[in-house]
């Protein structure tokens, strides 16, 4: 399983671990774990709108923080449930850069089984680290 929710951190919030062999895949899994809190049947999300996203940060950890917050931003500002398609993370001028294609559609409670709104990514127990099998992230979402 590429991500797993945890009940042992911060009772009022939603915590998950995500892991993947590559950083690109880790970002995709963490994004899916975040969106899955808000829409339980992600397979019902149609990919009718797409957004090209480029972000730069000093390290992988803060880059994931910004990336997940960007998804939350689009949900609030444009009612969009977006999932990552192509993701590419590479060294940038001052740190690391992500170029990602996000696609999805407006939330439709008639078709989407909505869950709990995610407000923000927190720093509680937050971390991105290299592990023997690749990469792992621990994220607590404020809901």
């Amino acid at each position: 399983m590429p991500y797993q929710y945890r009940g042992d951190i911060a009772h009022a919030d939603v915590a998950f671990d995500a892991w993947a062999p590559t950083l690109d895949e880790l970002f995709r899994e963490a994004a899916r774990a975040t969106m899955h809190v808000m829409v339980e049947n992600l397979e019902q999300v149609r990919h009718v709108q797409s957004i090209e996203l480029t972000l730069e940060q000093e390290n992988e950890e803060m880059l994931l923080f910004d990336f997940l917050n960007e998804l939350i931003f689009y949900k609030d500002a444009r009612r969009l449930i977006l999932l990552p398609g192509a993701v590419s993370i590479s060294p940038g001028d001052v740190g690391v850069t992500i170029r990602a294609t996000l696609s999805g559609e407006e939330i439709d409670p008639g078709r989407h089984e909505v869950g709990t709104d995610v407000k923000a990514v927190t720093m509680l127990r937050y971390g991105v680290e290299r592990v023997a099998q690749g990469w792992r992230a621990t994220v607590v979402l404020d809901v």
Binding site: G7, F73, D76, V114, T116, M123
Partner: protein, 486 residues
């Protein structure tokens, strides 16, 4: 049991971790709770409240209220007052949902009058108050209009026909924290917020129809002063929501800013980066304080617009004006704020920056800032329980001074959302609640399961602890009969 061996019992409801408990603690950490509640607290509370005690400028004690549980930075239920000259301001001490708070609204209707129309009322409230993930409000505006909203709060609502003068008088600071300056908020925050005015959100946010049963009135005199008991089985409305995506973006923006300057520019080392902070009088600290006030005002305006919708729904269903139905606010209480207040420290009045994270200001009688009608009673305090178990109206007490006149804000969770979702099924819970006389509508059965009553502490024990500790006095218990949830 997670209770640290160093925790000392000060009284039946006050527990203390001394400064020797953790390196860097500047003051002791105090937990307000009965023995049963303190034993049930999760380990994160003790870790986090003692971390709060290390923050520069903290005065007297770091506090956690009896509904306290593991939060972000501060525990939820956390309270800390900083000397503004030497102390810091911390987004983790305020929370992401800035000025998440509660309102209690009276009606002159009885349960007997409401019951035949309960389904119609709840269905209409559910249709008219946007709830759930990604919900947008019904007031069309542009970014510049929204900047006026966040600078004016409830005053904007009054000017635009969503409020009356009495609503503003019954809201902390008249529904507008002065000093909110929209130049300190990002375009991103505006874009996240301007279409969310008048929306409830999700999670533990709700709008509930409740009944004041005569046997649940603990203090008839105070209840009368707050407008209860005019009719038996009086129906009231309680709702809980905050500043929505706008407040969350403000918190995220400044959390990142503080992380980048805290140590490099100001040499502040903290034990936990969730407590990212800046000196209150630094340019960054002042910018956040002003931006936070914008989010506070957004939340006041949000609750005010929702109140307007509630009035419309009741008016439609009962074919009478809101005035004829007695739809009048008791009070609006804020949960997640930082505010400059004057308190007594070593016998002298001193201005302090009081952080309240998941806790409620509970001014005792005679304190400045209360409406004239509550000068003798103390501030009405609203403590929301789970949607299954009831809520409370209380009053602030003169004996609350040590805790900066602060009390609990809700039941407090004992079970994680993840665990609750595994344990309960939302559709089944909805049916069981209806059999017990509570009609609930929701966008999300998953979200409903997370809010099951069994996931929360016993509200009766929480409020009893606040009363025994001298923080707030029970006035009445309020029983739910209808609820809309995000």
């Amino acid at each position: 049991m997670n209770v640290p061996a160093a925790l000392k019992r000060i009284s039946d409801t006050i527990w203390e971790l001394p400064v020797s408990y953790k390196e860097g603690m500047l003051v002791p950490a105090r937990i307000v709770a009965s023995e049963k509640l303190v034993k049930e607290m999760d380990a994160g509370v003790f870790e986090q409240v003692s971390n709060v005690a290390t923050l520069p400028g903290i005065q007297r004690y770091a506090y956690c209220m009896p509904d306290g549980h593991w939060g972000y930075g501060f525990p939820i239920g956390g309270v800390a007052a900083m000397d503004p000259r030497s102390g810091v301001i911390s987004p983790g001490g305020i929370g992401f949902d800035i000025n998440c708070g509660m309102r209690l609204v009276l009606t002159s209707l009885t349960a007997e009058q409401v019951q035949p129309k309960l389904h119609q009322l709840v269905d209409r409230l559910f249709a008219r108050i946007p709830t759930g993930v990604g919900c947008h409000g019904f007031i069309k505006m542009k970014g510049d209009d929204f900047r006026s909203v966040v600078q004016q709060g409830s005053r904007w609502c009054l000017k635009n026909g969503f409020a009356n003068q009495q609503d503003l008088e019954m809201t902390e600071e008249g529904g507008c924290f002065p000093g909110a300056d929209a130049t300190h908020i990002s375009d991103k925050a505006v874009e996240r917020g301007y279409n969310q005015l008048g929306t409830l959100g999700s999670g533990n946010h709700y709008c509930e129809i409740q009944v004041v049963q005569p046997q649940n009135i603990m203090d008839p005199e105070l209840a009368g002063s707050f407008g209860l008991t005019t009719v038996p089985n009086q129906v009231v409305i309680m709702f809980h929501c905050g500043s929505r995506g706008f407040g969350h973006q403000v918190a995220t923006d400044y959390l990142k800013l503080f992380l980048s300057v805290m140590e490099r520019k100001y040499g502040i080392k903290i034990v936990d980066r969730e407590l990212a902070c800046a000196p209150f009088h630094s340019p960054e600290g002042q910018a956040y304080f002003s931006a936070m006030k914008c989010a506070v005002n957004m939340a006041f305006a949000n609750r005010q617009v929702i109140l307007h919708r509630i009035r419309e729904v009741f008016s439609d269903v009962f074919h009478a004006s809101p005035d004829d139905l007695g739809l009048r606010m008791v009070y609006d209480v804020a949960h997640n704020t930082a505010k400059l207040e004057k308190h007594l420290v070593n016998g002298s009045s001193k201005e302090l920056l009081v952080h309240r994270k998941g806790s409620t200001r509970a001014f005792g009688p005679g304190l400045p800032g209360l409406p004239e009608c509550y000068q003798k009673t103390g501030q009405p305090v609203i403590i929301g329980g789970s949607m299954e178990t009831g809520s409370y109206l209380l009053a602030g007490m003169a004996t609350g001074a040590d805790a900066w006149y602060t009390t609990a804000h809700g039941s407090g969770r004992t079970m994680s959302r993840h665990e609750a979702k595994k344990k309960f099924r939302g559709d089944k819970l909805q049916r069981e609640m209806e059999q017990r006389g509570i009609y609930v509508r929701t966008d999300s059965f998953g979200g409903l399961a997370e809010e099951a009553g069994a996931a929360y502490k016993n509200i009766d024990e929480v409020v009893e602890a606040t009363e025994l500790a001298g923080l707030s006095k029970r006035v009445a218990r309020l029983v739910p009969i209808g609820n809309i949830k995000g």
